[in-house]
Every structure is written in C-alpha cells, then in structure tokens.
Symmetry: C2
Subunit: 347 residues, 2 copies
C-alpha cells in the first residue's frame, strides 16, 4: 500500500497528471509541495522552456517531480493527405475569413530524443513518465542512469505486460474515462478501449509492479475505490483544471463549468491521435473520429487558426476542450487544497 | 447502506443481471436462494415460457425475484433496408451455402405490453426491472399496483434524472464496461457513453434514490469499490456466465475462457442496438458498428442462420458473444458460491 510513496519519495500516492498545453511549472510545484507527485508536461516545450519551468518549480519546492514526455514516431507529412484534411475545414475557413494558404504548421509535439535525455541527466527529476510507450532502450538507459524512476501508461493488459518486460518501475492504468490523449500504443484501435473499473484490476493481476489508476477519479472516495481495486495510487488530471495554478483558457474553463462537460468523446480531429475532450461544434460536425485526419501530430495545423479566431470571440467551437468523463471534482481552489482533499481518506 | 436490501427484501445488495438469450430460471433461483436478487430476462420469452421458468424458480426458492423486460418501440420493417442489410452478408451466405431467400425473421425481442402487465399482476415478482427506459405510465401503474418495486437502467446522468422523475424505486448506473445491450434510451449516441468509475458517482450525486452499479464488477473488491463510490448495491452479469446454472453455449464459454475475451466492443450488428460482446470475425469484418443495420431488433435475422451453421461447427464467428470488459470474475462454480464470494466484503 505504501509502495508508491516509497518509489517516488512522496507523502501521498498521487500523481498530478501532466497536461500538455494547459499547465506549466506552477501546478507541478503546488502539488509537489502538498505531498503529491507534481508533473511537468514537456512534449510541447523546448529545452529552454523546460529549464525555465524547472527553475520555477525548484524555487518553490524540493519535493519529487515528474517530467513527462511523448514517445511517438514523428510521421512524414503527406501533401495529399494534408490538402484533403484542410479541405474538410473549408467551410469554416470561409466563415472565419481565413486564407488556407496562410496556415502554419500546428503545435508540435516532440518525441523524447537525445537532447531531452541530456536534459533529464542535467535536471535529475525524481520520476520520468512516458506516454505512447517508451523511447529506445538506449535513451531509456540514459534516463535510468540519471537516477529517475520510469513509468508509462497502459490502456490494455498487453501494453502493461509490454512495459513490465522493459523494466518500468510502475504502470499507469489509463481507463477510458481519462481526459486528453490516450496512451494507447500497441494498436490504433479505440473500440476495444476499457473503462477504469475493468482495466485496473486486470492490469494489477497481470503485472508484478505498482499500478496507478487513472480515469474518472475525482474525489477522495474515488481514490479509495481505486485502492480497493488494487491500485497502489492514482493519477488525477481533470480535477485540477480549474485551479488558479493552471493555464486553462477562459473558453476551456467555461466549458468545464457548464452542463456540456457531461458529454465528452474520444476525438482525433485536433492532433491525429484519440484524445478525450468535451464535445464541441468541430467534433459534432466533423467526427469525433475522422479517417481523413493526418497522423499525430500533423492533424493539428488545420484547426489551429480557427481555434485562435474563435477563442478571440470567446468561443470554444474549435478548441480541444480536454477533459475526462468526471468533471465533478473540478474546483476553483488552490491545487494544494485539492490535493489534500483527494487524499482525505488516505493514511 | 442497507437501502437496497430493505427495498428488495434480500440479504445482499446484489442483482444478478438479467441476460436474455443466455439464462433462464435456474440461475435466478440459485442467486435468489443464496441471498441476491435473481433475475429472469423475459424479453425473448412468451407468456407460457415465463410461467414455466417462474415455476422452476418458485420450486426452488421463495426469495425475491426480478422479472426483466425491454421497453423499446418495435420498428416497422423497411424492405429496402432489410435487403441491403442481407447484401452485406452475401459473401458469408455463399461461404456457408445459405440461400438468402430462405432466411426467417430473427429472434424477436418483445416490448413490455398489456399481456406482460397481466402476467406481472398474476406472478407478483418482488421487483420488475426495465431496459431501454420505461413503459407507458398506464402500464407502469399496473406494475406498481401489483406490489413490485420498479427499477431501470441509466447510461447517462439525464437518463437517471428522467427515470427519477417517473418514480422508479432505484436506478442501475450502467457503465460502459457492461456486457450485452446498453440501456441507453434518450439518445442513440454511443461516443459519449461513460465508464462506471465516472458515471456512478455522478448519478449518485444527481438523484435521491438508491443507485446500483453495473459494468466491470467481477470480484468482492469490485463490489466494495462500487459501494465506496456511493452505490447502494451492484448488478453483476458476466461473472455468472460460466456457472453450471446458465445456458451459455459451448462457443460462448470457450470464448470467455480465451484471451480473446480481453477485447470486447460495442456492436449493433447482432440486433440493431449497441451491445458489448467479445470481438469476433463478424464484428471485425463488418463493424463493430454499422449504419446499414436495421433498427432493433430487426438486424438480428441476417446473421441468425450463419450463427446456427457456424456454431454447429464449433465456431463463434457469427455468435453474439456478449461479455463485459472484465471476464476475470467468470468462474465455473455454482452461482450460489459465486454470489457468496462476491459478497465476501459485505456486512
């Protein structure tokens, strides 16, 4: 039961879920200071930005921190696929007065590489978490040699076994309720993705490692239920989205507070990979899953200018409104306070 | 915490999920005798068969029993839709030497009606559960006047509120993990269906009634976790599928025991409504969701002769292999023993 606290060196068996594009160092620092494992999502940051956020964190706490990276293989752009994808958005470009010829590359997601391995060895975070599998054995070895514990997400039992065989220290069982990008990596199939209640005990049974439950956990009772199902700890993201330490946009905050947040779906429209967000106009009209979307992360460029224009009008029709299936835990309170509330039934 | 036992008059807060087409009275009797609420699925039975199964049950136990009915509106058959649907199966008919002109109507699912209301008043089950909403107010009133408690399934918060407004005594929160037909009735959308871990606490929060958790519950720890999340009790189906009292077919049993059971999906191919089953050849090749399927229950006729021929060869390629996302609770032990094991952490 204390396996995770021992592994991470934290007071609580809680990971604040890394939420790329939404949070930076402040949230990680606040959760870490409160006794959880704070996470800095690095996939959309360059080395200089990561160093800057790291400095913010270390100015506030010496407690354990997790740096999170993506492990996808960047695809080659296919001009025909890209062109067809932009054609799908033509009515929206016309509506918003956007010239498709001016569209820039979308927000990049960089896979873990040599430069990032150097950075891990320089910053020495206590934990490194990966999404979409693991990097090469050589890169993984460099992370290990820095002293970091290594964890990654599994959305299926075979993914958990694959990670265990490669020597991770713990596994996040990411149930279908979870917000943002699914960590699925041994398949691109989403029809067979599994809910937390079913996935968690099966992964606990299949591997001899601490398992961290993610997806739908939004209260102290949810944390207790996950531990009851065999989890060594929990990863919570959505519940933190309204905290003042998070850079959640105004349209995203408004959506989270509205009844619309009851309806989320997996969509590949925003990035090319399935991710869970609140259903909005773009998801309703084009998807939520489209076989026309270019591979991750190339799909993102088509909607980026629409998002910018719509958000400027206070409208989230083209914004990825990432959220899990249970927003009832979202509170406009300090992240430290939320952390303590989630851990109320622990100890 | 004892609300459900008081409501049903049972020792345990457990409903054996009604599984139409797979189980008859023996399972209901065995679970009832062990202290749970045994359920007889009536949607595929005529009045004479229900009376016969009721007699089987009452010869074994006087404990509370649930009769389960469907509340769909039977659609009018559309010849063009039917013809097109059979064309989708043409290669399979050729493979199995079936003349499409000889195909009979598929297994019917009868909605709750006057005759069934008469039967409820005659048999006086302690509980009546409905799937796909509720029958007309007049029919519902007749059920109530028989003395039966009334329950129904919700897959969304608004469905739970709709049921609560119509005066049900308790609500089953059916998470996406659950096997068989989803109870969804206010929408035909499945992209936004919710996992148990997220759905259950939201329904508990939204209605002032006992809530029964369903979907992914397969162990005593699962039961305890559901109660931790606010459930007054649980409904368990899949775990009973290998019990000797259940008429699970040989191909279905073999699939449940195999690694294939890790991969289930929602499919409308077998009936026209989304239901969760183990992925097989028909689901892989035609779906799992097809917009060509006629409305429930008309879709069933096209695959029925293929199922019969394939099963005779010991092959489940065309069989609805209904199962939830967690088959780890399936045990080849008496249903009474399984019931007691599931209730191990209760009391």
């Amino acid at each position: 039961m204390k396996a995770l606290q021992q592994l991470f060196g934290t007071r609580y068996p809680l990971i604040q879920a890394p939420m790329a594009g939404v949070q930076r160092g402040e949230l990680a620092a606040a959760v870490a200071a409160a006794g959880g494992l704070g996470s800095l999502p690095c996939a959309m940051l360059d080395a200089a930005s990561i160093r800057r956020e790291w400095a913010v964190i270390r100015s506030q706490t010496a407690n354990p921190i997790n740096l999170n990276f993506f492990c996808h293989t960047p695809p080659a752009a296919d001009e025909a696929v890209e062109r067809h994808w932009r054609e799908c958005f033509a009515p929206y470009y016309a509506e918003y007065g956007i010239d498709p010829a001016t569209i820039q590359a979308g927000p990049g997601r960089r896979p873990f590489d040599d430069e990032m391995a150097d950075l891990v060895c320089e910053l020495r975070p206590e934990v490194v978490s990966f999404h979409f599998g693991l990097p090469t054995q050589e890169l993984l070895q460099r992370v290990r040699s820095s002293g970091a514990k290594v964890i990654s997400s599994a959305t299926r039992v075979d993914e958990a076994q694959w990670l265990a065989e490669r020597g991770v220290d713990a596994i996040i069982a990411q149930g279908i309720e979870a917000g943002g990008h699914r960590g699925v990596f041994l398949s691109d199939e989403i029809d067979t993705q599994v809910g937390t209640f079913a996935l968690l005990p099966q992964i606990v049974q299949a591997v001899d490692l601490p398992v961290i439950a993610a997806g739908g956990i939004a209260s102290a009772e949810g944390v207790a239920a996950a531990l009851q199902l065999g989890a060594a700890g929990v990863q919570v993201g959505t519940a933190y989205l309204l905290c003042p330490e998070v850079q959640t946009s105004a349209v995203h905050r408004a959506a989270l507070r509205s009844d619309a947040a009851r309806f989320t779906a997996l969509t590949n429209l925003f990035s090319g990979r399935p991710a869970r967000g609140i259903v909005n106009r773009m998801m309703r009209e084009l998807g939520p899953i489209s076989s026309d979307a270019p591979p991750f992360p190339l799909a993102s460029s088509a909607s980026a200018p629409l998002r910018a224009k719509a958000e400027a009008q206070g409208n989230g029709d083209f914004t990825p409104l990432w959220a899990g299936q249970n927003v009832t835990g979202c509170r406009e309170i300090a992240a430290a306070e939320l952390t303590c509330e989630l851990m109320r039934l622990i100890e």
